[in-house]
Symmetry: C2
Subunit: 200 residues, 2 copies
């Protein structure tokens, strides 16, 4: 009996899910399109119809991972004040980074390999984080919770200050056990700084 036919979109989704599972388990380099096809009981040619190369497939997984990360760091569920939201956002962001580093080591290492231009990918990611921070800082300044200042500039400074716990290059040196305490201390000092700051 023939298998029920999957739609194109379903096949694409099945390839992505299987490839991601295999990449996470064995690493990007160790898994071939043939492995992924075999796992799905389809021909490699059929996989290539949806993704023209393993690189393209890896890239689609990297982008999807980025979107999911953004969802997991979302603070839409919070009804706190803007400064509370800012702290929540930063602590979620740091937590997700550690999880990626600990649980998804292979995926974490794959991402810079598959992006067209890892530095550009890094800048886009940084921009997303800065935009979010900038909006929250502006809100906190309007509400008089933070001292007046330049929200966009502050957002950039904050991302710099979190390099030791957010930047992929730094995560290699960090003890994951200590990371969440460390992050909490940094976030507290940033929050205090924004509340106190001497007007210039």
């Amino acid at each position: 009996m023939r298998r029920p036919r999957r739609s194109g979109a379903e096949t694409r989704e099945a390839i992505l899910a299987t490839a991601e599972r295999l990449f996470r388990a064995r690493g990007f380099a160790a898994v071939s399109i043939a492995d992924i096809a075999a796992e799905l009981d389809m021909s490699p040619a059929n996989v290539f119809k949806h993704f023209k190369s393993k690189l393209t497939l890896g890239r689609a997984i990297a982008y999807r991972h980025g979107r999911r990360l953004a969802e997991r760091c979302s603070i839409e569920d919070s009804s706190g004040t803007p400064d509370q939201k800012l702290k929540l956002f930063l602590s979620r962001l740091a937590r997700e980074h550690v999880c990626d580093k600990l649980e998804n080591q292979y995926l974490f290492e794959m991402i810079p390999l598959v992006l067209e231009d890892p530095a550009k990918g890094g800048r886009i990611y940084r921009r997303l984080v800065e935009d979010k921070l900038c909006a929250l800082i502006a809100e906190a300044m309007e509400d008089g919770i933070y001292r007046p200042g330049d929200p966009a500039r502050d957002a950039g400074v904050i991302v710099d200050m979190l390099a030791s716990v957010l930047h992929p290059k730094m995560l290699h040196c960090v003890d994951p056990e200590a990371l969440s305490d460390k992050t909490a201390l940094i976030i507290d000092l940033i929050d205090s700084g924004l509340k106190y700051r001497v007007a210039k």
Copy 2:
């Protein structure tokens, strides 16, 4: 006529100075003990009497460079309050890092190559910086300039917050032009945080 004989200490110093000049100009890998000996008009065997290998010589230069860095970052000349001294110390530290990166690229790259254990070297360096910060923070807390807290813990957090401008891994991504402004902004926010901090 024979050259006047140098003492052992003078010869050692002459070797260090010449080796450092050549390493800075051409890089550690490109300079041999024979090159250094030729420059000093002595035999390689004579150089080896003072330094048993190029690695030992490189290491001696790295340690000397560290001691000089500490002198250049010294704030003994400042008569400011402890918080002013802390800001001065951090800005000098960051400035010296940028200078090393820009002007002494070869030396900067040599240091991790020659240390027995670069991670340990990094930890020793970090410890020196933290000890200095800790003493200044304790002083500022005693004087009531900073809110009470744990100076040693704060010193650690501050070093983490400056990773984007101090850590060798991060200096590769940074635009040197922007670095001193960036550093000043980070230092200001840290200073404000220490002054304001909500007691826990």
